[in-house]
Subunit: 581 residues, 2 copies
């Protein structure tokens, strides 16, 4: 068996079925081995950025590492953004890259010469910071152990991408049988949860009158969603979710309060500041979740944080009272067992939270009357009409804020965003997130759509029945707001008046042979969305929206005399209320 | 003056007039300072990859650092491919990126946490390997010296890109006057050329009967093109050029022999192997120039290599007899002075070289009759019709090989390729290479055009009168050949039958509001090219070419029984000749 054959046999072996790639001569034997592997299908993207994002999407949806195959040099560097995104969002994936002849690579590494070998670049130093594991295959016999170690790294603890760089002269070399049989599977180890930690948590929970769970992406990754729901019911604890955990709980749940953050909602912010106990599960408390004053986040609460990543636990911004290093699933299972049948009732507290949810809806009634269309209103309609059996991919910028604030989550829906890195062009992740028998929806701003527009060719060619909703707000709306708020309307690079103009996306879609639908008015909105969702084919649906719609509520900032920015308090969302409860 | 104001004042101060950017909130004060700087214009691209390439193109054409402004995280990582390209091709440029708050960045660097700060990534470790200088601005008062040091690094010796990462809280801070006045300009130092080296070279030149100059990108960068021409005439020495030095000498010159390389021409390969003296000037002897047997490159010649990069001189592959560390311009000037009026005549040798040039033309006569169109023939026509006063940008893949083999270079033309990294999508470099009063032409394959297709919006919006010729060979032709030659026609990801289909580029261009012209037959070729070249506006001209045209001559390889590849000798180009002279 050759190195390349071994690699793809290994990848097919753990259940991966699709590899996202861009072909290239320096990955020729890898490509050929993929071609010959009967258990794998290749999807060829038109830019490595999209191939990496697709592999990321595949990994998130299927909960095994997705795979991306790229060539040497620019093929590899083009994938970096997608890999960095997978790293910060804890998404497991394999990236395989072609590389120059091993002798040349060795020389380049030893001497630090700018380049040795056509198209080559010494990749290790550049990608180690954004991967959990990186290996150059310099000896064919190393590959069995490399694959084991890489898989372990991708899936163990907090997940992430792993990168294997394979010199072209090694790709087609034979691997010796004895090395294959000798490769050692690593045993997954989880941190041991201390009995006293569980006791402590239980005792705090029993004492608490206003407990609240803040749940994040770590719950999803640990497969602990069902356990979370059980805990909520058993202890009657309401839940708020960070962006990464948005699809953990459906919007109609009795226990769902809201989604805190820089662009959050009032109900969740009030709940966090009123809670007397905050149980933070698989959520890394990023600034976009907690705002600008970590020391006052959950200011009335005893705070317990359960996380698999020691570095996240060790952060010194939010004053955490109890830090528990654990796989969230293990933690919740033990907790469920300990609770037994006992129930705590916090009916008043939950009803108080729900009252706020009703009192301060994110989608205001008047939005329905605005023209051009208001993106909150559009999102409300779209989410109402979207089936529960759907994967929803939401691109970055204002669209991510607006949709994440206002999407009505249904049971069964998966909701993917570029959480930590916030990459424009994330919509193309839909290529990897496609599953037969589930609807596939992406939502992107016009600026973000452009950043992966070449992938219109990929979705068309592969008949991926994506429904891409382009919220066209005529450029980069989030930055436009920013330049309005802080720069006195000195606009640069945000709309056609200031240097950037996106195309007519219906025309572009049609040029790629894709069906296109445009929506411009309130009257046609629901009907046309229904029409689009019912079509079996790929559709680009461009929705003409307001250029300057307020993105609210949000944590607002203002410029101070010394040129710095000062943010408002976490509970004091803009537009500011007259009287705070 | 704020940090951001200082940065752009400095950049305008050395003569830069245009900054290529994609806006973003974490670069907000940088963006605003650029807006307010009256000596700078911003061109907003639709992807940072293109912004970086444009800055690279600007630097190459204007011989000062181009400038690229991007935002934090994905904004920065999206630019990496373009910056890596500038690094290997010795192109000076400044890249400025927005970054998280300096306190958060510091924390991320110290702890190695995956992310601290929205969208942030610790950039230094990732981009230091592809830049000559990298700095994070952690103190506003550091910026004056950072700018000096960065400029020095970009322009000194072998040029390259420099990267300045500016935390958002630092961007708007004041720089103290005393730090501005204290900043020290670095003095450019060139290696001192030893008298004895010059004497040695002169004595070897005087003894030589078949001298040959191999000239590369280093001559262009050192501004030594005119000196080279003088040397050729004074000593009657013929010249071959590497890809990076293609536009150093016009094709009709009496001293021009050809362009060696993996995809070279016979005349230059014969000349190199027949020469008794090889003077290698500013050429790093990459494998794509010298082939696969460095020890037999210029096998009959005494080899003198003059280069500014010690690491390139120290390479141990081609056995160099005399290595001279020098700025090529300095070296040539001293040499010219020393030669005085003496002339060496190598008439027979030159005529022998020219005879080979005539005997083995790259564009074969029969190409003109082929249908679909042959790319060599198309290139011949296009280059004949292109003005001398033109900047020509040639994308990568088969197109780069074919056009670089067959372009008829005219006096005054600049010819840019992605030399070392060979980045698909390089055509967008044309955005930065645009100069008023000079024609602007780009040539790209259909696969490569896709890799920056979002920039159709940029060229349209900015009215850049680019003529983009898309050689449509229905996918990735170079890899298709590769899979044909080595994989027994197991095609994957190279054409519509194997996983990838590029769009109708005329339709896409029109969707972006760009005039489109399609050429499909020999009859219409010249007339339509003329029509396109004469138009004042932006045009995308799609030329339907053969899918499987031979790319010859070339250094061919074959697969050996052990799975490795074995290449032919440098002088033995495919198609192999019956009898070699």
């Amino acid at each position: 068996m050759t190195v390349s054959e071994y690699i793809f046999e290994y990848i097919a072996g753990y259940g991966c079925k699709t590899v996202y790639m861009v072909s290239g001569s320096s990955a020729m034997w890898l490509t050929d081995a993929l071609y010959r592997n009967k258990n794998l299908t290749a999807i060829c993207c038109h830019h490595e950025q999209a191939a990496a994002m697709s592999a990321d999407g595949y990994g998130r949806i299927n909960e095994i590492p997705g795979t991306c195959l790229v060539t040497i040099g620019p093929g590899a560097t083009n994938a970096i953004t997608g890999i960095a995104q997978a790293y910060v969002d804890s998404s497991p994936l394999f990236i395989l890259s072609g590389q120059a002849n091993s002798r040349l690579l060795k020389y380049a590494k030893e001497t630090g010469i700018r380049q040795q070998g056509c198209q080559s670049i010494n990749l290790g130093p550049m990608v180690k910071p954004i991967t959990k594991y990186f290996a150059e295959v310099m000896d064919p016999d190393d590959i069995p152990q490399i694959m084991e170690d890489a898989y372990y790294a991708a899936m163990e603890g907090r997940r992430g991408p792993v990168w294997i760089d394979v010199p072209v002269d090694i790709q087609n070399r034979q691997v010796s049988e004895k090395c294959i049989s000798r490769a050692q599977k690593q045993i997954f180890r989880c941190p041991v949860i201390k009995q006293e930690d569980i006791e402590k948590v239980l005792s705090l929970l029993r004492k608490s009158e206003r407990p609240l769970i803040l749940a994040g992406n770590g719950i999803r990754n640990a497969g602990a969603v069902e356990e979370l729901k059980r805990i909520c019911e058993m202890l009657s604890i309401p839940v708020v979710t960070s962006r990464g955990g948005l699809d953990i709980i459906e919007s109609e749940s009795f226990y769902y309060v809201g989604r805190p953050g820089s662009y959050g909602d009032r109900a969740s912010h009030f709940a966090i500041q009123e809670a007397d106990l905050l149980l933070i599960l698989g959520c890394r408390l990023s600034i976009s979740t907690i705002g600008y004053y970590p020391e006052r986040f959950g200011k009335n609460a005893v705070k317990i944080m359960v996380d698999i990543d020691e570095k996240e636990l060790a952060k010194n911004d939010v004053p955490i009272d109890h830090r528990i290093l654990a796989n969230v699933l293990d933690f919740l299972k033990i907790l469920v067992n300990k609770i037994g049948t006992s129930r705590l009732l916090h009916k008043e507290w939950i009803e108080h939270c729900l009252k706020n949810r009703e009192k301060y809806p994110t989608i205001q009634k008047e939005y329905s009357k605005e023209m051009p269309l208001n993106e909150y209103y559009v999102t409300g309609c779209l989410s109402k009409l979207t089936d529960g059996n759907a994967n929803i991919i939401v691109d970055t910028g204002s669209v991510c804020n607006i949709v994440s604030q206002s999407w009505i989550m249904k049971k069964g829906q998966r909701y993917l965003i570029s959480g930590g890195l916030s990459c424009m062009g994330f919509w193309a992740t839909a290529i990897g997130a496609y599953q037969e028998n589930r609807a596939l929806i992406a939502i992107a701003g016009d600026g973000s759509t452009q950043m992966n527009i070449q992938e219109f060719a990929t979705i068309k060619y592969n008949c991926i029945p994506l429904k891409l909703f382009v919220y066209n707000n005529n450029g980069y709306m989030l930055i436009r707001h920013n330049q309005h708020n802080y720069m006195n309307d000195r606009f640069l690079g945000v709309n056609p008046e200031s240097g950037i103009q996106t195309p007519d996306f219906c025309k572009v879609a049609e040029a790629y042979g894709i069906k296109a639908v445009r929506i411009s008015t309130v009257d046609e909105l629901e009907e046309k969305i229904k029409y689009v969702l019912d079509l079996q084919e790929t559709v680009v649906c461009e929705i003409i929206c307001q250029e300057f719609a307020p993105i609210v509520p949000r944590i607002a900032s203002r410029v101070m005399p010394d040129g710095s920015l000062k943010a408002a308090e976490f509970e004091d969302l803009y537009p500011f209320l007259e009287q705070q409860e």
